[in-house]
Amino acid sequence: MTVPFSSAELKQRIRWYIKVRWCYLVAIAVPALIALIIQHGIDHQVLLDIKIASGALLLNGVMVIASHLRIRREKFFEVLAMGQIVFDIVLMTGVFFFNGGLESPIAMLYCIPILMAGALLGPQAVYTTGVSATTIFVILTTLDFANVLKPDNIVAPQLHDNPNNLFPSMITTAAVMLTITVIADFVGHLVRQRSLLALELESVNIEKAKIEAIIKTMGNGLVATDPAGVITLVNDNFEYLTGWQRHEAVGHQLDDILPMLDENGKRVPPADRPSLHISDLESTNGRVRSVTHYSYVRKDGTTFPFTSHIAPIVFKRQIIGLTNVFDDVTASQKLDQLKTNFVALASHQLKTPIGEIKGYVDNLLYGVGGKLTKKQTEYLGLVRDISEHCTKLVTDLLDITILERGNSTLDLKPVRLSPIIQQLAHIYHDRLAKKGLSLHIVKPAHELTVVADSDKLLEALGNVLANAIAYSKHGDVTIQTEATKDFALISIKDKGKGMDKATVSALFDKDELLSAAPTAEGGTGLGLYLAKHLVGLQNGKISVISTSVKGTTICIKVPLMKG
């Protein structure tokens, strides 16, 4: 038999069970013995009863102490509980047997608390105790009256005086014991359920207290609404950010309290508010939805740009409301703007002197300053290359800043691929020639038309090609175009030294790129990162296949025009 509790409460319940049992034993055995002594004095029979009772008290007392030992293994407590159950069965059976069943009120007094205490451990313990004790009692009684058990008449003498009463008495006793068992289990069930409910309620209250603390201290504004858009809850920061007091907001339509403006400052009608669009959220499967580029209007009529995260409150598969956690992004937008302005300014300030250096050097190289020696031409050529590299770096940084702010303008149109590839080959012709590389163009069977921004696609491809050229020492670079069902795949393959996995994964991470040492090969290192952003903007994807033996292939996927 296993004890039906495996929860963290197991030990506690077993301790109670054993302790309760011991207390009942003391409460009933001690007065019974005193009554016996007063009635009969200390004769042989009473001495035996005292010995048995003392033995039982002592044994159960040891179990009480054992149940309080700091033993971690649950198995130990299960064994203790089972020991107590066996002990109870023996005790119940003995008391009934020796006291003539129903004839003895003491037997009933034993029976009820034993079963009640067993109920603490669950139905298995109660039924095992009740049914086993009843069965053993019936067997022993039958054996006694069949004279199998010696010495004679160990069962209640009053029954032996009138053996005709035996059968009804035995049946009644068994029936009463089983009834008490069932009632004990039922009461135990109620007690267990109540304590379980109390525990659950406590944990719910703990969770509630936690959530209340989180809501109170969270740095964002929070507003919850019912499905009709009526505000049901706001937090302190909501009051701070919007100027509305809690009692003014709760119970009113969200759209009346917190009107929403679009990017052009026009009021968003309630039906179009993302935060009120339930059907829309149902289709998002209960996920959080982010809203940006809108503003809220405060109580005093001033506005603030916000970002918000909206999630449905789902109960029993039904949306019973929405939570909207929002934040005033005025400061971060300002900071972002400052950062962009700073980078733009710095780029401009850097581009001018670099351009001037290049201008002077170009003039010298074109002979404006007179004839140059071979060495002078060589040195000046190097200065020009370095200044061009610096310009590219500054341009890339500026482009990244614009892209990351997400406000670059995109002009998606049907674009034929082969002219773009031709243009690419033309632009990079000199650079390929300088390194002695040849360019192979593998065309698809049919002309492919993609949906892209031709300038940005050209820039992305250019960055990838420039990278391939920078890392190739010999051989050729291949540009292959092919089509899948929905995408055009443009692969740019070089026979350079390839890259390891870490390098590949770092390629598209700006922070890693900027922290890495400058590349000896002459790339700015930002090109592929920029390419990834540019391709992503055009709903495409970029991936890298690289082995140290075969070189690197970078594959750009751009959506094909439909139809």
Partner: protein, 135 residues
Amino acid sequence: MNDAGLHSTNAKKILIVEDELPFTQIYRDAMHMYGYNVIEAEDGEEGLRMVKVYKPDLVLLDLILPKLNGFDVLQQIKASDELKDIPVIVYSILDDKPNIERAMKLGAVDFTFKGQTPAVEVANKIRAILDPKEK
């Protein structure tokens, strides 16, 4: 105003409107090599005034200028019946497409990137515009 390099009365006059003096020098030297006369202005207002006074054969106009920016200068040149036929090459340090398109729409003959296209190549472009036969 600086009228450095007015060597020949027959040579064609190029007005460079540029606030960064090193660039002025770079372009001036390249123009001189091609035999052009160069006059210079350091801001938009001065540039416009000199266009009116000297009526150069061609204007090399920076877009980012103090006082009056390059777009405004270009617009005013093209708005004047007297000046609108003077070809204007616009250039800028910022190579963004909207700026190029705007300048071309306003009537610039060409656009070039300051610091990228060598000054001598700009002079070549100018020769192609002013003396197409020599090309």
